[in-house]
């Protein structure tokens, strides 16, 4: 079964770093440029992301992740910089098309923000096992129900995809059309989705009973079968990243007050 998670262990140091450190990195890499608001901060964050991705040997897979965002960024550029408001400054013209400076700068900022967000999350997502993250959260005081929800999503989705392809085949073999005009495709949606949804809801009843029988609602402290080996410098890195965020808030506050 195909997993929806993008994680695969390639044995680099980035995969062994504690999940919380990577969460902290993502928070810092996204929030610092947003707080400072300068284009240079965005550039610095993007360069840091790219360097980490390269040293974790996941740059190639990150590329696949950000490619789809280019259409969105392109849309923002077209919509914002070509359809400027009346009276805004024209930066340059390509033939009959005017590019407005204000819109262009907004689009540039938004585009850089999207890229920086995607890359910072790529660092976390491509090198962290979701199961690992939820176990660690549970161990640090999050509710076990919460980590059940996370790990269960990863089991349920491949299962539902299996049901989905079975039902698509079954409906198609009965002559249902899934291609053609918009109306035809709309009409195909309900007979496809209803059986998948109904069957997955019906199985929740059995799953709930199975969980209850295994003490899911028990209120005693839980034990864990495996322990994580500590990676060097996790605490130091987390503290430094937190300090950078605090520092950028202070810089912004100082600039704002002066």
């Amino acid at each position: 079964m195909k997993s929806i998670s993008l994680y695969s262990d390639n044995g680099t140091w980035l995969c062994r770093v504690h999940p919380f450190t990577k969460v902290m990195y993502a928070v810092a890499a996204i929030s610092v440029p947003l707080i400072l608001g300068s284009l240079w901060a965005f550039a610095a964050a993007i360069i840091a992301d790219l360097a980490l991705l390269a040293s974790g040997k996941v740059l190639r897979r990150a590329r696949a992740l950000i490619v789809f965002s280019f259409t969105i960024i392109a849309t923002i550029f077209i919509v914002r910089s070509l359809f400027g408001q009346e009276g805004s400054e024209i930066m340059f013209s390509i033939g009959p098309v005017n590019v407005y400076r204000e819109g262009f700068m907004i689009a540039l900022r938004t585009g850089l923000n999207i890229l920086s967000m995607l890359l910072a999350f790529a660092v976390l997502v491509l090198t962290t096992n979701p199961q690992d993250l939820s176990t660690e959260m549970e161990r640090h005081g999050f509710s076990p129900r919460f980590s059940y929800v996370i790990s269960s999503v990863f089991n349920i989705i491949p299962q539902m995809m299996g049901t989905m392809s079975t039902i698509s085949d079954a409906q198609r073999s009965r002559g249902m059309e899934t291609e053609g005009s918009l109306i035809t495709r709309m009409k195909a949606f309900i007979p496809l989705i209803t059986p998948v949804v109904t069957s997955s809801l019906i199985t929740t009843r059995e799953r709930a009973m199975a969980l209850d029988a295994r003490g899911f609602g028990a209120k005693i402290k839980r034990t864990y079968p495996e322990t994580r080996e500590k990676h060097r410098g996790d605490t130091a890195a987390t503290v430094i990243l937190a300090l950078i965020v605090v520092l950028s808030i202070l810089i912004k506050a100082a600039l704002w007050l002066s």
């Binding site: 919509v79 009346e86 929800v149 949606f189 209803t194 997955s200």
Partner: protein, 201 residues
């Protein structure tokens, strides 16, 4: 049903199991919509089902958890931003369902309009802050560009962009939810009945 019953939530195994199932349904809905190349998102079917069965609190959790889990695991940080929208859609659909607005088809349409309105109110500021006012949907963004060229203020254009995308999306979503809920067996829906009382001897 009293106000207390509307928000009553049980965090028993049945409700917790409902959350991942609903997140899976959201995913399947989105996948079918893209396989069939529909110009809609249809990614809140699960959230609405969770809200109708488990009530506003479970609905809100389904919505927020859905976007957070996808955002954090598949790297699609665009959905992450809309966790707030999903949370409120789940919450308000839950309230509507508990107050009887999913019992008949015309009432379900009222719920759809409420869900659409919630989505518009929450998403428009998010669109403006993060994507400079666009939604990423072809039809909506075409309207955005057209209204911008006409000289409409950014907030209004972004609002038009959202309305064009969200109202049809939520109406179709809630129609599907209504059809599915009618098809569910009673032994399942009885698990989530908010007005039941445990009688003791």
């Amino acid at each position: 049903m009293s106000a207390k019953d509307v928000f009553r939530t049980r965090f028993d195994a049945a409700s917790i199991v409902l959350i991942p199932a609903c997140i899976g349904i959201n995913y399947i809905g989105k996948l079918f919509a893209s396989v069939l190349k529909l110009p809609l998102w249809l990614d809140s079917i699960g959230t609405c089902i969770g809200a109708c069965l488990g009530g506003p609190v479970i609905g809100g959790i389904c919505g927020a958890a859905n976007n957070l889990i996808y955002g954090l695991t598949t790297g699609d940080s665009i959905t992450l931003v809309y966790a707030l929208t999903s949370l409120f859609i789940g919450f308000f659909v839950g309230i509507m369902a508990r107050t009887g607005f999913m019992k008949s088809f015309p009432r379900a349409l009222v719920t759809a309009c409420v869900a659409g309105a919630v989505a518009i109110v929450i998403s428009t500021p998010l669109n403006i802050i993060f994507w400079a006012g666009t939604t990423g949907n072809v039809w909506g963004d075409a309207a955005f560009a057209a209204t911008q060229a006409m000289g409409m203020p950014l907030v209004l254009s972004s609002l038009v962009d959202e309305i064009i995308v969200d109202i049809p999306d939520k109406i179709i979503t809630l129609i599907i939810v209504f059809v599915i809920l009618k098809a569910l067996p009673e032994k399942l829906t009885a698990l989530y009945d908010a007005s039941d009382k445990v009688e003791r001897l």
